[in-house]
């Protein structure tokens, strides 16, 4: 590993906007897979996770980084200015494997928006375990396939969904693709 950090977005304004709209579209239509603008991501981040971090995280949002992804911490803090810290106070969490969602802030009944957004890097959004999603954003139930989530994911998500309107939101990233699960969505094994 060299000491040289790779750059962020080629066009910070336009790329952040395009990435935000991809995330917004993914979150408004759970299960929809959207491409994001390219970023030269530092290992072990995939380009999509790097783009989402650049788009949403800054010095106002405490970030928790999975120790397994610590190699990318320098890149993230340089480009975003985010303070990395403990899980229990994170506004954003980045992880290579799904963390225990119960350890992350879920907000309060009065301010359910004071909760964490979890960015998880997965192996694939085309292969793997199949889920069926239903809830706001979906006209009828929608399929989602993910490789890289724990086998008991549907149960873990049900525990998070049961907290609604509290709870965390999940952004799934692989390659240059992003999909999202807002807390409002119900996930069933298909």
């Amino acid at each position: 590993m060299t000491d040289t950090l790779t750059p962020g977005f080629a066009d910070p304004v336009a790329d952040a906007q395009a990435c935000f709209r991809a995330v917004l579209d993914a979150l408004a239509h759970p299960g929809r897979i959207r491409p994001v603008p390219p970023v030269e991501a530092p290992a072990p981040l995939c380009p999509a996770a790097a783009a989402v971090v650049l788009t949403l995280v800054d010095h106002e949002t405490p970030l928790w980084v999975d120790p397994a992804a610590a190699a990318a911490s320098g890149w993230i803090t340089f480009h975003t200015g985010a303070a990395t810290g403990e899980q229990a106070r994170a506004a954003f969490a980045f992880a290579l494997t799904l963390p225990d969602l119960a350890l992350l802030p879920a907000g309060s009944d009065e301010a359910p928006d004071n909760s964490a957004t979890v960015i998880v890097q997965v192996q694939s959004l085309e292969r793997g375990a199949r889920f069926e999603l239903s809830g706001p954003g979906l006209r009828e139930s929608a399929p989602l396939a993910v490789e890289g989530l724990p086998t008991d994911f549907a149960d873990r998500w049900a525990a998070n969904h049961a907290l609604f309107p509290r709870g965390v939101d999940l952004l799934l990233c692989t390659g240059n693709q992003v999909a999202a699960l807002p807390r409002s969505v119900t996930v069933r094994n298909a």
Binding site: L24, L27, P136, G137, L138, S184
Partner: protein, 288 residues
């Protein structure tokens, strides 16, 4: 435009607003506080809507702005020009062409599509503010989903007037959880919000709140089984295009009691007239 960032707002502000928009989409109907900025126009002129639009807008978007349904009123013209100058985006008056529609107090008559986003300008995001002035109390009511106060208000309306006397900003229940102000749109437009294919975003600049309704989400106007919600409209066809299913504005034409009822949605009316539909007053106009 030189000297400004794309779409006026700085990137830090956009990031903050974008995070709030994402939270709002994840919690349909919940009001998310945000750091509303001072804009180059006063509060009350759509600063909340403008900040939301500025944060989502990209260079390939096509923007439509309406004010009470009209594309050609001061507020609509100046906001459209603002984004044409600061973001260089293409603007339109045609509902079908737009990817982002910012609106003050109307929903277009034409059904919106899944690839469109509608941004509402909201003066007062709290649906219960006339009943309970304390924000601390209303926050707690939302937390507990305790909306008895609003039901009592509707009941008292029925007891006093025989009907629910709210003609605009008619409170709705979003996704069976949050009571929400639909912004001061006529109650006539409320049914359009229910399971709308487009994403609906709401920005209140002075009150510093953002909220949202994801596509296809249930939006129910509050009512009672024996007093179901009814959309009210003037019992006339549009004088210019003859439409009987659009929301009408009443225009006073002289001081002898002359009245003209016309579509509030100017684009809808113009499109119909271009397609050959003519109302009774439209015929008179042509004859003169």
């Amino acid at each position: 435009m030189k000297g400004y960032n794309f779409a006026y707002l700085d990137e830090q502000t956009k990031r903050m607003i974008r995070r709030c928009v994402l939270k709002a989409v994840a919690i349909p109907g919940h009001q998310v506080p945000f750091g509303s900025r001072e804009m180059p126009l006063p509060y009350g002129w759509g600063t909340g809507g403008i900040q939301v639009t500025a944060s989502i807008l990209g260079s390939d978007d096509v923007l439509k702005v309406i004010d009470q349904g009209a594309d050609d009123t001061t507020n609509a013209v100046s906001i459209r020009r603002f984004f044409a100058r600061t973001a260089g985006v293409r603007t339109t008056t045609a509902t079908a062409e737009a990817t982002v529609i910012q609106t003050r107090h109307r929903i277009p008559e034409k059904q919106l599509r899944e690839d469109q986003i509608i941004v509402y300008q909201v003066p007062q995001p709290e649906p219960m503010f006339r009943l309970e002035p304390s924000r601390v109390e209303t926050r707690r009511m939302h937390a507990l989903a305790d909306y008895g106060l609003m039901h009592v208000k509707l009941y008292e309306d029925i007891a006093r007037f025989g009907q629910i006397s709210i003609s605009y900003d008619y409170p709705v229940m979003v996704n069976q959880r949050y009571l929400m102000s639909p912004s001061p749109i006529p109650a006539f437009d409320n049914p359009k919000m229910d399971r709308m294919p487009a994403l609906q975003l709401f920005g209140a600049g002075r009150e510093k709140r953002i909220y949202a309704i994801p596509p296809w989400t249930q939006v129910k106007s509050l009512d009672f089984d024996d007093h179901p919600f009814r959309a009210i409209n003037a019992p006339h066809p549009c004088g210019l295009c003859g439409a009987t299913d659009s929301y009408l504005d009443e225009v006073v034409t002289d001081d002898h009691g002359g009245r003209l009822f016309v579509c509030s949605d100017t684009d809808h009316c113009a499109e119909r007239r271009a397609a050959g539909y003519v109302g009774t007053d439209g015929m008179k106009e042509a004859a003169e």
